[in-house]
């Protein structure tokens, strides 16, 4: 990165951190009063951000497992980085959903008052296990570079890594499928209530997590050599593959309810496609998230195009998540409820939801924290090892 770009990023980061800090203080002192989500649209942007971040985590993690479990050598160089990105985005997601709770101080109750029926409880248990496993993997993956280990110890760590990563695959699939099931099982919400959701979530995770990793490698890799370009092209192909697969699932999810155009689900799909926020689908998702990246990834092979394509995919994926959480909630379950009783003070009995500035602030804070964690990690941990200096260390 050149000097100007660096300054630019620092300025942006400081701004986000300041606004975010302010948002977090407001959240702690004023609770949920400044939030725009309501009792009728009870989940808003934070929930969308939560599933977005946690998807990035699951995707990055599964990418690292390709190395540790299946021995995909091409990706070996980014395995540790993927693990670290998975941990960082997991922290971001948990923080976001923690702020979303009405009683943040009671979060431990999910363990002390377990409720085995609840999909949400399962999700929490599974991602807690996943978090522990992730830390374990990071430890064994990084230990060898942080202190001198004998060849035997390294081999031993490799074995442990493989074991952990092997457990990690079903765990990551279960917990992220569980996030999908959290929505899919809600029968009262026809838009969510679909058996395809856990699968959509998994593919989405692989797509967004893979794209984020590709972008990080494209933008920040220290040694931009031939092998690096090769790696990028390989990653680009993975992203393109998932992009197309995700598009297929998208088609399945929307075209079935829309085909005859009647019924509650069709109403919501029409709302997504032609409602007041139509541009989120057509412009943000379809144009910037699918068409342009697909063109770049299939037609251009240079590192810059792959980098741009993957950052587009990773960032616009948030739009897909918003378009999943919020439209599921915007139609009254009983017609007329929207006018039956209003909240004159905070407007929290409304079906109209646009995230408030306060919500954006908290989200910015979380992103700023994630960026800081990542920055520190790549500065002080041997995450981005090129083949050359690995050779040296051997």
């Amino acid at each position: 990165m050149n000097r100007n770009a660096k300054i630019f990023f620092w300025v942006i980061w400081i701004l986000m951190a300041l606004l975010g800090g302010n948002g977090v203080i407001e959240r702690l002192t004023m609770g949920h009063r400044l939030a725009a989500y309501t009792s009728y649209v009870p989940w808003g942007m934070w929930v969308a951000a939560y599933i977005f971040f946690i998807g990035l985590s699951a995707g990055a993690f599964l990418l690292s497992s390709l190395v540790y479990v299946f021995g995909v050598h091409k990706l070996e160089r980014i395995a540790k980085l993927s693990l670290f990105v998975a941990a960082t985005t997991l922290v971001m997601s948990l923080l976001t959903i923690w702020f979303d709770l009405g009683h943040m101080e009671r979060n431990y109750e999910v363990f002390t008052r377990p409720h085995f029926h609840s999909m949400m409880a399962w999700m929490v248990w599974l991602y807690s296990a996943y978090f522990a496993l992730l830390l374990g993997e990071l430890y064994y993956a990084l230990r060898r570079d942080l202190k001198k280990l004998s060849a035997d110890a390294v081999r031993d760590d490799d074995r442990k890594l493989k074991r952990l990563a092997t457990i990690g695959i079903p765990l990551a699939i279960a917990f992220h499928g569980g996030v999908g099931a959290l929505f899919g099982t809600v029968t009262a919400r026809p838009f969510w209530n679909s058996p395809i959701y856990p699968i959509i979530f998994l593919v989405g995770a692989l797509l967004s997590g893979g794209a984020l990793m590709t972008f990080i490698v494209a933008a920040l890799w220290p040694e931009k050599d031939e092998a690096w370009e090769d790696l990028l092209r390989f990653l680009g192909k993975i992203v393109l593959g998932f992009l197309l697969f995700d598009l297929l699932l998208d088609w399945a999810d929307y075209s079935i309810p829309l085909w005859y155009g009647v019924g509650p689900e069709a109403t919501i799909v029409k709302y997504v496609l032609f409602g007041p926020f139509w541009y989120v689908y057509w412009i943000v998702h379809l144009l910037f998230g699918v068409t342009i990246p697909a063109y770049l990834l299939s037609r251009k092979q240079d590192a810059k195009s792959i980098g741009i394509a993957s950052v587009l995919v990773a960032v616009t994926f948030f739009a897909i998540r918003l378009n999943l959480v919020i439209p599921g909630l915007v139609t009254p379950e009983l017609r007329g409820l929207e006018h039956a009783y209003i909240d004159p003070i905070g407007g929290h009995l409304s079906y109209h939801y646009v995230p408030s500035f306060f919500e954006w602030q908290v989200l910015m804070g979380v992103v700023a924290l994630g960026m800081a964690l990542f920055y520190l990690g790549q500065k002080y941990l041997p995450l981005m090892q090129t083949f050359n200096n690995r050779e040296v260390s051997k």
Partner: protein, 306 residues
């Protein structure tokens, strides 16, 4: 009365019960003789029992509120697991006055944004052929509630008498149950107050003292004292899911739910569906009784007469 003093001494319980009964009966008398406007000058004690009986009752000479009051007392004698509370709302009689909504807000000291029983106003047809109907929507206290299994901490469940309750001390405020209820009968306490944004006068906040006297004392949901409060650790029920409880705290004192007592149109009936002789059981069996959204599969215990 000292507002912090627990108000559950035997005498005060009795007093509340008597007051509640008196309130209902007074109201019954006032309404049936059609003299609400003249209520102040009339001497209410003498005209408690209406001359013209209310026809929905099997005993043609008894007012429905009195009958339901008696049935309630009878039901409370039986063990909790033998009761199944239910409600019947006659939408042909509902005049859309929202007295139930307001009565509920007063009884449970609901802050802005929290509502247990809104009245949906439906307009059908085009002018001049228009029909308006009103549909009060309490919690349906479903037989198979969709809201309880989703709770990650088991903070909400169906009691033995059929009432779906929330443990405010356990609820983490995730709002999953809000998304799961097919009737949207749950709302979230965002921590608002009616006096937020109130005007400030030269000598301090205008009208605030009076308002605060109303909004600061605790409410008695679930027979406990709840003093709302904000902060890093909000005081429940701020930050919790909230819902209609059929006024469990009033039932425990032998009083009908507030919305039943305040229903101007005499359109809301309440009682034990397990008691075949009760008014609600009779009405719920009527051929014109229906439930909302039967396709949701939750089997509501609230019926509508159309």
């Amino acid at each position: 009365m000292n507002k912090d003093r627990p108000d559950n001494t035997p005498e005060s319980e009795e007093r509340r019960a008597v007051l509640g009964k008196m309130a209902s009966v007074t109201f019954a008398g006032l309404m049936l003789s059609g003299v609400l406007a003249r209520a102040q000058d009339a001497a209410p004690q003498k005209t408690l029992i209406p001359a013209e009986p209310f026809r929905a009752s099997s005993d043609a000479h008894q007012d429905v509120l009195i009958r339901m009051q008696g049935e309630l007392e009878r039901a409370m004698q039986r063990p909790i697991n033998e009761r199944r509370w239910g409600m019947v709302i006659d939408i042909r009689k509902c005049i859309g006055c929202s007295s139930c909504t307001v009565g509920c807000v007063m009884e449970n000291k609901l802050p802005p944004g929290v509502v247990y029983r809104p009245v949906i106003d439906k307009e059908k047809g085009t002018y001049p052929n228009v029909e308006r109907t009103f549909l009060p929507r309490p919690c349906m206290q479903c037989e198979d509630p969709a809201c309880t299994p989703v709770c990650p901490v088991g903070a909400t469940w169906k009691r033995e008498d059929g009432i779906v309750v929330i443990d405010y001390d356990a609820c983490i405020g995730c709002r999953y149950c809000l998304t799961a209820c097919p009737y949207q009968a749950r709302t979230f306490d965002f921590g608002e107050h009616w006096t937020d944004n109130a005007a400030q006068g030269a000598d301090g906040a205008l009208a605030l003292t009076a308002a605060r006297d109303y909004q600061n004392p605790p409410n008695f949901e679930y027979g406990k004292h709840w003093k709302r409060g904000e902060g890093i650790i909000p005081k429940s029920p701020v930050g919790n899911a909230r819902k209609c409880t059929f006024c469990t705290h009033r039932l425990d004192q032998g009083m009908l739910p507030m919305c039943v007592s305040t229903c101007v149109g005499r359109a809301t009936f309440f009682g034990d569906l397990n008691d075949p002789k009760s008014l609600v059981a009779e009405l719920a069996e009527a051929p014109n009784a229906s439930i909302l959204k039967p396709e949701a599969g939750t089997h509501p215990n609230v019926y509508y007469l159309k």
